[in-house]
């Protein structure tokens, strides 16, 4: 791992951490939803401080360069996150539709009761 990549990992980690903590302060993200970003930020930091860990794993899995392994780890983490987000949004949409339908029907029932 080049010193540049290590420096970029530290910067990436710090920026991620700062962005998410700022959102927590502003009360615009729930703690449950931050966990991933804190883990992500921490992972980048560990990779930057202890490059021997990714280097060891890269050799173990037969990567030519450690940096390739680091990129793969980051991409995989983000893709997994994207997948769970899709599921979550889909679920939220269904719940929202359900609420809209119930609210509309309920309003009609109430109106009929009044008459």
């Amino acid at each position: 791992m080049s010193p540049t990549l290590r420096a970029l990992c530290v910067i990436g980690s710090a920026v991620t951490f700062w962005l998410i903590i700022r959102r927590v302060k502003k009360a615009s993200v729930r703690i449950d939803d931050c966990i991933f970003w804190i883990v992500f930020s921490f992972t980048l930091l560990v990779i930057a401080i202890f490059p021997d860990i990714p280097a060891f794993l890269a050799r173990l899995f037969g990567f030519i360069a450690t940096s390739n392994f680091v990129f793969l780890v980051v991409i995989t983490m983000l893709l997994m996150r994207e997948f769970t987000n899709t599921l979550k949004i889909s679920k939220l949409n269904s719940r929202l539709d359900e609420l809209i339908e119930e609210q509309a029907l309920q309003a009609k029932e109430n109106e009929q009761d009044e008459h």
Binding site: L96, D97, I100, A104, L105, K108
Partner: protein, 226 residues
């Protein structure tokens, strides 16, 4: 036989009143429910002023949600059949009773009003889309439909329950294909339709692309896992 006409309406102030008047005079025995899908025009005021039977969705949610709201209403009020009916005057009320008769006589689950059987096949890009969907449905479920994109469909008591409680059942051809493959009986009756009498269609270019890709993927791929 108690039939409910479900009329989703999104910004239909120009033609809603006329549509409901002709429905009331042609089919006095049929109940209807307008589902005002968060319209920003005077649709809601027109319903209230004329005392039309209607529900208001609090926000614009799309045709599927509007239709499912109608199906839930039909389910909870014990209707024997429900028909999807356009607010824009495209669908003619005189075909509702014949559709109900066909549903009852042939013990069908879904009755589609087919323009093609009445000798009025949709032309141009619409016709091409319709032919592709027909072919896909025939390929995957073996059912021959001449007008799968017709928006005027009647559903039996059993289907009302399915739609009211189902997950992600759109009032579109892919759902018809899915239900047909699951053993529901789908038939068609000939029916003429009119040009829309006013207002704007849900269907602009991006919606057409979204519609076609959803329907095609759904029929070809997703229905096998549902």
């Amino acid at each position: 036989m108690r039939i409910l006409a479900i009329i989703p309406a999104y910004n239909e102030q120009d033609c809603l009143e006329q549509t409901i008047r002709s429905l009331e005079s042609m089919c006095p025995s049929i109940d209807y429910l307008i589902v005002n899908d968060g319209s920003t025009d005077d649709t809601k005021q027109i319903c209230e002023r004329n005392h039309f039977s209607h529900v208001n969705l609090p926000v614009n949610s799309g045709l599927s949600v509007g239709f499912q709201t109608g199906m839930k209403y039909a389910d909870r009020h014990g209707y024997d059949a429900a028909v999807q009916f356009d607010a824009d005057g495209q669908h003619l009320p005189e075909y509702i009773i014949p559709m109900g008769n066909a549903l009852e006589e042939q013990q069908a689950d879904i009755v589609i009003a087919s323009r093609t059987l009445a000798g009025e096949a949709p032309a141009g890009a619409r016709g091409a889309g319709s032919k592709i969907i027909s072919a896909l449905i025939r390929l995957t479920s073996g059912v021959r439909l001449t007008d799968p994109t017709s928006g005027m469909r009647m559903y039996s008591r059993r289907m009302i329950g399915e739609f009211a409680k189902g997950y992600d059942l759109t009032p579109e051809p892919d759902t018809v294909a899915l239900l047909a493959r699951k053993g529901c009986k789908v038939i068609e009756v000939p029916a003429r339709m009119q040009e829309r009498q006013g207002g704007e269609s849900y269907f602009d270019f991006t919606h057409v692309i979204a519609y076609m890709s959803r329907v095609c993927f759904s029929i070809l791929l997703f229905q096998w896992f549902r």
